[in-house]
Amino acid sequence: MPEYQARQTIGELLDRQGISRRAFIKYCTAMASLMALPPLAGRAMAEQLRAARRPSVIYLSFQECTGCLESLTRSFSPSIENMIFNVISLDYDDTLMAAAGHRAEAARDQAMKANYGKYLVVVDGSVPTADGGIYNCAAGRTAVDILTETAKGAAAIVCVGTCSSFGGIPFADPNPTGARPVSDLIGDKPIINVSGCPPIPEVITGTLLQFVTTGQVPDLDEHRRPKVFFGNTIHDRCYRRPFFDQGKFAKTFDDEGARNGWCLFELGCKGPTTYNACATTKWNGGTSFPIESGHPCLGCSEPGFWDKGSFYAALSTGTFGRAGNLTPRDAAKLGGAAAATGIAVAAGATALARHRRKVRMTDIQTADTQKEE
């Protein structure tokens, strides 16, 4: 990595690339809007960023599908992502980097050495721990190994996607690879989870940007997600919320309610318990989000989202067993069996009561007879 780049401020780099201050303010304004900051705060943010130095970023991919990286790079607003590569110095990403094999590994070593204690680690994918971690290896080393080593000199770890944040799909029952989220394995570093399957690209860049701007870990929720993006539920911000409030629900995917754009709660929407920015930031450059295209929220940015019963069963219904939801047939079986047992026990209790009654009546009669004699 060329020395001069690391010492440069972002402003200097932008100037060199001919990106004007107004263009950068525009970008920061958009980011501020995403972070629910006042739009005018974008100007202050731009000034701060221009004065900041680009941090070195090491991007580690483990047990993942690359969807998160796709999300980040295949955005409809490439200029924002172009921008992000001006703001950070992506020194290692085995998917994106041109180098391969030992050269690629050498790039990681070099970035770590040069920025020890200051670099940012981005993790994509869960970490398999079963059978010695053999289910995910690169350059002959297990993911656990690579993660532990890289994390040592990190200023912070950003987990991109639900897999690295909470385990995600590999973590789903029965979890054959013993997949774990990063937070289970690294205890001594600040961890920021940017969950979602995949996360919204603007949320990924926004989180990185915020870290670069302030040099600090942002306010996190109980699942270590940045509150600015994960502070509200989908339901809180959903444009179909008024229909929920009016008690108007689509009952199937093709009924009148569905066509009228009514609330998808009864079709299993997890919006009320899912914290993410989909409803406001939307996807594909602000085009739409799942609910807008008529599909309930799956709750992909929540821990264990794969193991919370059917995607298509309402939140207020029961979940039974593995990914199963209570159905009338289950309920009848369950209730029937319980009721039958209840009847049996009652018969026993009554028989006992009758028996006791008989015994006591006999006792009393005997006593009476004795008295009369």
């Binding site: 990106i19 004007s20 201050r21 107004r22 263009a23 303010i25 525009k26 970008y27 304004t29 958009a30 501020a32 809007s33 629910a36 006042p38 739009p39 005018l40 974008g42 100007r43 409809f76 607003s77 490439p78 200029s79 924002i80 911000r237 959903c238 444009y239 919320r241 008024p242 229909f243 066509r259 009228n260 754009g261 409803a279 406001t280 594909n284 450059g285 602000g286 085009t287």
Partner: protein, 145 residues
């Protein structure tokens, strides 16, 4: 890359126009807030803005809001990494700003309550850099003479 709008698909949407003012009907509330912010600006406070993207508004609401504010005397186009438009509304000091990226997608949209939209103001660094650039241009001319 083709724009999403170019793909010939039909999107079934609820009749938002009919719903306007009945649900999500925050238009009145937004107008009231703008009025309050104008008062504060006149009293010497900092300029403020209302983010249009974070408000759960439907297109019907949006049209109502545009209609209520009307159109004014100034329209500015900013060519900085995509076109941005800044229009003064019928109310002086109320600016409707839309930033677009290189693909023409809206990246930020807000109503700014300010004497002049902040992004237009050139800062001291830029003035200095401009001056330096001119001087170096003069120097180049002179040396070439």
């Amino acid at each position: 890359m083709s724009r999403l709008g170019d793909i010939p698909i039909r999107i079934e949407r609820p009749d938002f126009a009919a719903m306007a003012g009945t649900i999500g009907g925050g238009v009145t509330a937004i107008l009231a807030e703008i009025a309050a912010l104008l008062d504060r600006l006149a009293a010497g406070d900092e300029p403020q803005a209302i983010d249009l993207k974070s408000l759960p508004m439907n297109p019907g609401d949006r049209e109502q809001l545009i209609e209520a504010l009307g159109s004014g005397e100034v329209a500015i186009t900013l060519y900085a990494d995509g076109e941005s438009t800044i229009r003064e509304t019928g109310v002086h000091g109320v600016w409707w700003t839309e930033h677009r990226d290189g693909d023409g997608e809206v990246t930020a949209a807000f109503i700014e309550i300010a004497r002049v939209p902040g992004i237009l103001i050139v800062d001291s660094d830029e003035l200095q850099r401009g001056a330096e650039r001119l001087r170096s241009a003069i120097g180049a001319t002179r040396s070439s003479e």
